[in-house]
């Protein structure tokens, strides 16, 4: 799968990150090699394999529906820049 520098810049924009042309070029190459690897997995013919049949072997990981209070609220919000009472205060957000 061909990955262009523009693809990298588009994803970077969505992720609110910025890269130099050089960095983006390097990343395009890395993306491409990772995705090529996935493509080779995609080539396996799995049409006669039904995932539902394998679910017997899988174990669900779940927790009980029980509540607990996280006690140290001060620590929890220690990185918040500004609070108004217990609300987090940020610059006005318009839609």
């Amino acid at each position: 799968m061909k990955i262009l520098v523009e693809d990298v810049q588009y994803i970077a924009k969505l992720a609110k990150l910025s890269f130099s042309e050089e960095q983006a070029k390097k990343m395009a190459m890395e993306f491409e090699s990772i995705l090529t690897h996935f493509e080779s997995i995609d080539k396996f013919d799995l049409s006669d394999i039904h995932l539902d049949l394998y679910s017997e072997a899988l174990q669900p990981v779940l927790r009980k529906d029980e509540t607990a209070v996280f006690p140290d609220k001060e620590k929890l919000f220690q990185n918040v820049k500004s609070m108004s009472d217990t609300s987090i205060m940020v610059p006005k957000i318009l839609e």
């Binding site: 994803i11 969505l14 992720a15 609110k16 995932l51 539902d52 394998y54 679910s55 899988l58 174990q59 669900p60 990981v61 779940l62 927790r63 009980k64 529906d65 029980e66 509540t67 607990a68 209070v69 996280f70 609220k73 929890l76 919000f77 108004s84 009472d85 217990t86 609300s87 987090i88 205060m89 940020v90 610059p91 006005k92 957000i93 839609e95």
Partner: protein, 481 residues
């Protein structure tokens, strides 16, 4: 040329769990801002989410009640976007393997039954709440709602009118309520709805450009928002200007009473969905589905049929009572105590609904318990107070929370059925109205009516009319002999 409306709905319902979807924070509404938060729901680095088993149970229950296929193997995905109500910068949701596929809901509009197909139901987490302060340059964030479990129910574009859409939402709400899947408090945002609406020439089966309406929190808003948008699109089609309809998202602004554009699809977010690496796939066993199916309580459609048959109520009466789970429970409690089915329905459809509306209360907050109302019904049946007085007593019970007996006593409303006391009054009136007595003897029967009025007046309305009438008749007879 005629046009038809094509509507599809996406409904978000908060699931009825004690704790959040991936952590143990409580889901209670109305807590102090950010009281129900922890490192997991705030998405702090180094934390791991673990799925709440009750979320799976309730989603399967919803799927069962809505006739869906349950995907025994399904998984969570990350939906990435930046917005301050989402501390992780992604919402954990389901993309290509949702917990339920297909399904349907049967609705009835103007006596016509119609099946509305569902596309899917998936589970996801709710986002936080932003409070925009009017006169200050800041917004406040409350993350209590972050991680509250939701199901999103997506319909096929099968709805053909605003009425059908509203009826569908009502029917769905009742199913979720009766199934104890969600508490569906629209005013608290635990049931919300987005609507997609487009128009086409009648008979076509293409889907034209649709407009998405978001942020709908009540039936009235759904109705108004859809009606406005339907009218706008219909006019554009009628004048051949349908190209002016843009694929866009409009937000219902309840204060302005109209929809306002939110964002166009051109610059819509690319959500870059990918499988959630912190969670293992969700596995549902056949036994689990069977046991959930068996535990499903009576659904509104069955209840409706039973109410009509068992209690002999009219369709309209049944619709109103069943339409609200709390009302139907109240009704059955009342009947179970011994109230006549028709009388119980009259109390609910009359005074109870009127007072709930006046006091702006929901039906699960009726301040008079069914046994307290039943006591009042008994007092009336025994002839201790009149029906009119009974209504007055009920209103006082509703407001003060006092018992029927206490209010009857306080207001001195009990009817005089005691014959000794009544006899004194009747004799007194007959003694002081000799002319009426003469008129009566002369065959003027309306004189008896006058005397009856005098007695009621003397007793200040407390004389039991039935007993008084009998007593007066016999006394008149005695005096004429």
């Amino acid at each position: 040329m005629s046009f038809e409306t094509v509507i599809g709905l996406e409904i978000h319902a908060e699931l009825h769990t004690r704790s959040k979807i991936f952590c143990s924070c409580a889901t209670t509404f109305g807590a102090k801002p950010n009281a129900n938060t922890c490192p997991i729901c705030l998405g702090l680095p180094g934390t791991l989410p673990v799925l709440n088993e009750e979320v799976v149970n309730l989603a399967v229950k919803a799927g069962t009640a809505l006739n869906c296929h349950i995907n025994k193997l399904n998984k969570m995905d990350r939906k990435n976007y930046f917005y301050p109500d989402l501390p992780k910068a992604y919402q954990t949701s389901q993309y290509d393997l949702p917990i339920c596929k297909g399904g349907h809901v049967d609705i009835e509009v103007d006596g016509m039954k119609k099946r509305i197909r569902l596309n899917r139901i998936h589970i996801e987490e709710d986002a936080g709440k932003l409070i925009h302060l009017e006169e200050q340059p800041v917004s406040l964030i409350d993350y209590n709602r972050v991680g509250v479990p939701l199901i999103e129910i997506v319909t096929e574009p099968d709805l053909r009118s605003v009425d059908e859409a509203v009826t569908f939402l009502r029917t769905l709400k009742a199913i979720l309520e009766y199934g104890e899947i969600s508490d569906c408090r629209m005013e608290q945002g635990s049931l919300r709805c987005d609507a997609n609406i487009s128009m086409r020439k009648t008979g076509q089966d293409t889907l034209n450009t649709k407009v998405e309406l978001k942020n709908i929190n009540s039936f009235k808003e759904l109705q108004k928002a859809l009606e406005k948008e339907e009218k706008r699109q219909r006019e554009l089609y009628t004048f051949g200007e349908e190209s002016k309809i843009k694929q866009e998202t409009r937000r219902w602004d309840s204060a302005k009473g109209k929809t306002v554009p939110m964002r166009t699809k051109e610059d819509a977010h690319d959500y870059r969905y990918f499988p959630e690496p912190d969670l293992v796939p969700i596995i549902i066993r056949e036994e689990q589905i069977v046991s959930i199916k068996e535990s499903l309580p009576e659904m509104p459609a069955q209840k409706k049929e039973r109410f009509a048959r068992q209690y002999g109520l009219t369709e309209k009466e049944v619709d109103i009572i069943i339409g609200d789970k709390a009302l139907s429970q109240y009704y059955e409690a009342l009947v179970l105590l011994g109230a006549a089915p028709k009388a119980a329905a009259n109390w609910i459809l009359g005074d109870i609904l009127r007072l709930l509306k006046e006091k702006e209360l929901e039906a699960d907050l009726i301040p008079v318990r069914p046994d307290a109302l039943y006591r009042l019904i008994q007092i009336i049946a025994e002839g201790k107070i009149s029906i009119t007085a009974g209504k007055e007593v009920f209103e006082a019970m509703f407001i003060t929370g006092k018992s029927a007996d206490a209010i009857v006593e306080e207001k001195g409303l009990s009817q005089i059925s005691d014959s000794v006391e009544l006899e004194k009054i009747v004799e007194g009136i007959l003694d002081s109205n000799p002319q009426s007595l003469k008129d009566y003897a002369a065959g003027k029967t309306q004189a008896a009516g006058f005397l009856m009025g005098q007695i009621m007046k003397a007793s200040r309305g407390k004389a039991n009319p039935q007993v008084t009438k009998e007593l007066l008749d016999s006394k008149l007879k005695e005096r004429l002999e």
